[in-house]
Amino acid sequence: MSFLTAEPVRLLLALVCIMAFVGLNAAYLVLAERKGAGRFQRRPGPNEAGYGGWLQPVADVAKLLSKQLIVPPGTDTILFRLAPLMVISPAMMCLAVIPFSQTLVARNINVGLLMVFSFGSINVMAIMLSGWASRNKYAIISAARVVSQNVAYEIPMLLVVITLLMVTGTMDLNEIVRQQAGWFWHWNLFKVWVNPLMPVTFVIFFICMLAETNRAPFDMAEAESELVAGVFTEYAGMGFGVFFMAEYANIVLGCSLGTVLFLGGWQSPFGLWPGVVWFLLKLYALIFTVIWVRWTFPRTQFYNLLNLSWKILIPISLFTLLLSSAMIKLF
């Protein structure tokens, strides 16, 4: 059994686990989303396939897999095929540095936070490429929207993360979690003595995370009422399926990052269960909030979306950055 502990084998196993985690999450978060949408609208949601609809994801995947992968004439074939892979692979790669528990992390890099954000920005380029490659006007409009939206929301997101970074003083995600040991007021979310605006930074982080993952109410990339399906218009079968998986993988990634940075990761106030349980509990609470937000608010108009970022979120996050640097200098 000694080969199991060898580093390459361990990494390979971790990669397989991450891919399984992403796949299962994508499949069952779609069900959770539809069930949640149903409950928010006082209807049961999908309930025919299996007991209470538990087999719905299996049926969905079987349907997607059995469909032909159509490449429309006139598209840039290579980019068109490559784009779904480029959307999903950075999300999976980023999960490698997320500490699910004290030891359960594929690769503990001391610049994990930097890695997540650098790979996270590939997502935008991949969506833009898919829009460009599919030679469809809806896809191009959608790609342009995605780029301007992501550029707008990357700024407050990074400002908030810099604020947090000044508090923690490290980019090692596991170390950030370790600093939040103790009761829940030791979580970065409630560290108001370091920066009184810490809960506000979390809210900004959450809003930016919604915008970066193109989730409702910021789903301008897939505004089905105006752009058919946005950049996904020309994709059929599993090509579309991979985009869908990537959307949920990005939600999982964004929520795990929020958990690690603000909610104390695998730390628990009273170690009742192992750390990974606490991590998943916080993660799924955040994901539930994402679904909750989606089925509460209507889609924003595009200029309102940009106004929110440039006129509200960026000034507030700049102010929190200034405030926390002043607080660190003074005390």
Binding site: R39, R42, R43
Partner: protein, 149 residues
Amino acid sequence: MKASILDVPRGFWSLLVGMRITLTQFFKPVITVPYPHKTLPIPARYRGPIELTADPATGKALCIACKLCERACPSDCILVAGVKLKGEKKKSVTEFKLDFTKCSLCGACVEVCPCDAIRFSKNYNLASTSKEDYIFDLVARLQAEKKQP
């Protein structure tokens, strides 16, 4: 300036109010009816395709084949035939065909009937792929109903 700054917390508060409303709905019970498994009670005045009524004493159709309904029907979708049986005062119906593809459920036949032999049924599961399925033989249907219960 002051108004636009105050707009931010006010707007955020309105978002929270919206989220509270949806969350309270989330925990309330489901109000839809899973149709093929469960159905709602049909209102008393529901108008389905007409059916013949039977005499509760004898179990025979009340219809006397007077053909008033056939004449009253604006869409010309009823066809009635009857014979005078020996030992009975009135005629008895032998054939009552309803072409439901033409029927507009106006109710003229029900109103005109002198002996209340026609009424609206409560059938609504009427989907079919062939046109012939909508030409109902109401006498045969009444006899089938008599055997069943």
